[in-house]
Amino acid sequence: MKVICDRGALLESLNLVGGVVAARTPKPALQCVKITAAEAQLTLAGTDTEVALRLTSPRVDVQEPGEALVPAEKLRQIVSESQDPTLTIETEGDVTHVVAADSKFKVFGQPVGDFPPIPEIKGEADFEVPAGELHRIIAMTLFATARENSRYAINGVLIERDSNKLTVVATDGHRLAMAKGSCKAKKGEARNAIVPSKALNLLLRLFSDAEQVVMVQIAENQIHFSTEAAVLTSNLVEGNFPPYKDVIPKDGDKKATLATDVFISGVRRAALLTNEESKGVRMAFGKSGLVLSSRAPEMGEAEVRVELADYSGDELEIGFNPGYLLDALKVVDANDVLLEMKAANKPGVLRSGSNFLYVVMPVNLQ
């Protein structure tokens, strides 16, 4: 194999594939990127056996087709540190040479046959969706996934597709984010999938063009996202997603409308005087506005007044984890948010338009 690559484009591709490649694994082949040169195209592939990414690197000149398994991180470092606009990659057996004007690297790789097969898409996609829309609904929910939870399959994001409607839900058991979007159905039957957060984090980095069309196929235990240049495949999280519709309250009779940036600023300031032992911020809502207060033992106290654009219902004092509120407020792209509450021990609901909803459980105030 011999191929001349644009260094910048190659580096970008290697950075993406590097996001999949397992950092620590007893199998050397899994630390490698598979490079394939064929028909004027250079394809890079990486996998940790759960998530696999294959993408075509643009701006290459294939002089001799072939394939090789190269340690991904080392290759990325070499390409990153090089100075030249182009690099020549040449392989003989398991050895890869990276040659530039003033440098020559010889890197020992692994036999190509050791690389696990990258799943192929069979059949038609379930739906297609513009990259920008998919990016939006995933970014609005992904942050709410659990890191570890033994009871429910909430270490991933639930993607539900019903005809032309997409619903994405994530929760860690204390808060729940839900975003809605639209897609173009290619198949009739509705399907759901729980996708691990690692795959979706990678997916978010994959799109550069919001108009680009992403084809999505949900198979028995895998999901495929594909564009012209890339295919991301992920195993699905097994198990049951909790009955999320049951915990979205509909009876919040205390409704506060707040300017998003003002709310963010208030919560951030009150959060300064919370700590590991007292995570909650006390929020007193009333017709005259919102008063946030916090106290950290041995550190001090804070009180912040925030103007409400509107408030209806009785006065209410409720405690929230400020981090949970900020996570959601950061992804809201509207000027105002609506917060609906019922009581100090009942969940609050943050809404922005009809496409984003966030349920957050309160903290017990003592």
Binding site: E148, H174, E277, K279, N321, P362, N364
Partner: protein, 389 residues
Amino acid sequence: MGAPRWILHLDMDAFFAAVEQRDKPALRGLPVLIGHDGPRGVVATASYEARPYGCHSAQPMSIAKRRCPQAVVLPVDGQRYREVSQQMFAILDEFSPVVEPLSIDEAFLDLTGTQRSLGEPAEVARRLKDRIQSELKLTASIGLAPNKFLAKMGSDMNKPDGLVIINPQDIDRVLLPLPVSRLWGIGRVSAAHLEEMGIRTVGDLRQLSIERLQRYFGSDAERYYNLSRGIDERPVVPDQEAKSIGHEQTFPADLGDADDVRRVLFDQVQQVAYRLRKHGMMAKGVSVKIRFGDFQTISRSTTLHAATDLTTELWQAAREMFDRWPFQPVRLIGVTAERLNTGGESLELFPDPDRARQRKLDQLADHINEKFGKQTIRRGGADRTHGQR
């Protein structure tokens, strides 16, 4: 000012020496000096038997030995005393949610407003003394009074094994005849200075106007003015550094059966969990300490998925850590709940019915044990073979 305050001061009697005499029966009744036995050594504790000879703590060891040549001199066994101290504080924690440690063997407890849950303060003080006696086989002296200053004075008035209660109406009777040097913060120099002015007792001091006090003591005047009237508003400040609740036990002989050790560990977990709940704390981490017969000591900790105060979840974490070790005879076992918070966690969106059931079980057990005495009921099933339910 609300309900009258009740502050308890507890001071163990000749703590280091008493622990040694308890553990080494041959030393009982003998004068014992604890401290480094060298030219620069200092007495950390003198047993009550050594005190009539003029031995006391903070004295150079050479002088103490000259005064009492027959005394048995032992080095300070810090680790052992800390273990016993932990056991003592574990008992104190059951008697008040607000415990301020002053040293390894001394603490303030705020009993204000605990009448309903614990009983009358005087009765609580007696029970506390009994518990220390029966559980640790050691004696403590206790002062019970409306504030810290008087409580500490009280614990010192009838040592050893004393219990002095200073009721509000007794304050003047107790306080006025005392020499001024007994007031907190009045050292030998100030006392001598006062004596020159004819002021020997607290009663004499109380005659002085605040203006005169200011001339002698400057910014401290107000404090002396108040102390001479038995006024001290300092709150009992719980140990802010106490970021863990633990329990450990050294066995007199190695325990050679893994199930026996598991049973002890399970008892410890139940006590630690009870103390967590009692203080409204949740633990995010659990650690287990094991010392084997060959004195190799290991300590392992784990992070829980979510902070908890449930016995079953703490036990599961502790047991897993213990079982990961190939068993060999154990000399010491201990468990600690760590990374505590006061339950500032958000509530559950999808409450676990099993957790709710466990919480009820714990509440019931706590209730019964509080009503009928510690460990009236315990959970069974610490054995590995039977699993845990």
